[in-house]
Symmetry: C2
Subunit: 183 residues, 2 copies
């Protein structure tokens, strides 16, 4: 069923209206819709980030329990973080796993790239899987990221997702992508 043609919007004008470098930029755009109507719209530019489903040799996923300010409480998360300027997504994934958990892993593979907000953008999530994760050092992720590390096998990870123990959209998406991945 096709209701109307689906066509990209045309950006007539684009102005930065707020910026907190290097983290946040808000743009206000003037848009011409496919039907000719002109509307105002925003784009929110946040850094792209990597999020990692790393499994130990015995199949356990490396999970974090921590406070995150966007959530406002303690929750479970998969490891992850912002891709630095000039860094490749997989480099960021390896760096973040090591910094946050002290784990190193093999067999890295990007299994999806998803836009955080389909209206405003808000950065893209690069979802990675990796295997043979093992602790090689102590975590060193800075004082914004105090956390506990928890190891969950696949059934426990799925149960934790189903029972709402992960409160972040990217962690839930990445956990389910990894659990439903067919290599």
């Amino acid at each position: 069923m096709k209701t109307k043609p689906t066509a990209p919007w045309q950006i007539l004008d684009d102005a930065e209206v707020y910026s907190a470098p290097p983290w946040i930029k808000v743009h206000r755009q003037q848009i011409r819709l496919p039907n000719g109507r002109i509307v105002g719209y925003h784009q929110i530019v946040l850094p792209d980030y990597a999020i990692i489903a790393a499994q130990t040799a015995d199949g356990k996923f490396v999970v974090e329990r921590q406070y995150k300010h966007g959530i406002g409480t303690v929750s479970l998360f998969l490891p992850g973080g912002v891709i630095d300027h000039g860094e490749k997504p997989q480099q960021a994934a390896k760096r973040e796993l090591l910094e946050e958990t002290g784990y190193k892993a093999d067999g890295w593979r990007e299994i999806g790239v998803y836009v955080s907000n389909s209206n405003y953008g808000c950065g893209r999530a690069h979802v990675f899987i990796s295997r043979n994760a093992r602790k090689i050092t102590e975590p060193n992720s800075g004082d914004l990221e105090d956390m506990e590390i928890v190891l969950l096998d696949a059934p426990s990870l799925l149960r934790a997702v189903r029972s709402g123990k992960f409160m972040s959209l990217s962690s839930v998406a990445a956990a389910l992508c990894a659990l439903n991945h067919r290599s």
Copy 2:
């Protein structure tokens, strides 16, 4: 393994630095971390939204194919949209399904609520499942939302997710939540 205590951050000051009512507010906060260090941080307030995995009586999911400006191209999406002021999440889910697709459904159930961005907030996704979806009218979602409706059975939905045909984090999360839901 516990590296350091996980404790909420204390908000010492909070100032709105950009606002485009009723859609976007950006706040700059002064934060005291659990270790006493004081840092600046942002919160981005976007509306909460509903996202819907609705299945027809013969088990097909109601999927949309459309352009979204945050993605910048045409992609598959699950139906969904912003929860209006004063509206309950489930009311919004029913309204958005009807407006966007012309479908009505039964057996509504919220199976998860997830924060879009664990650092900045960016609104919460309320994930709904429903069944017995049937077309009762023509879509009427306004000229920002030209789209096609596609019906996908569960294996096809999973294949579409795995092959990257859904480019939005909330659609991928909601599709996999629905496929992995155990009622």
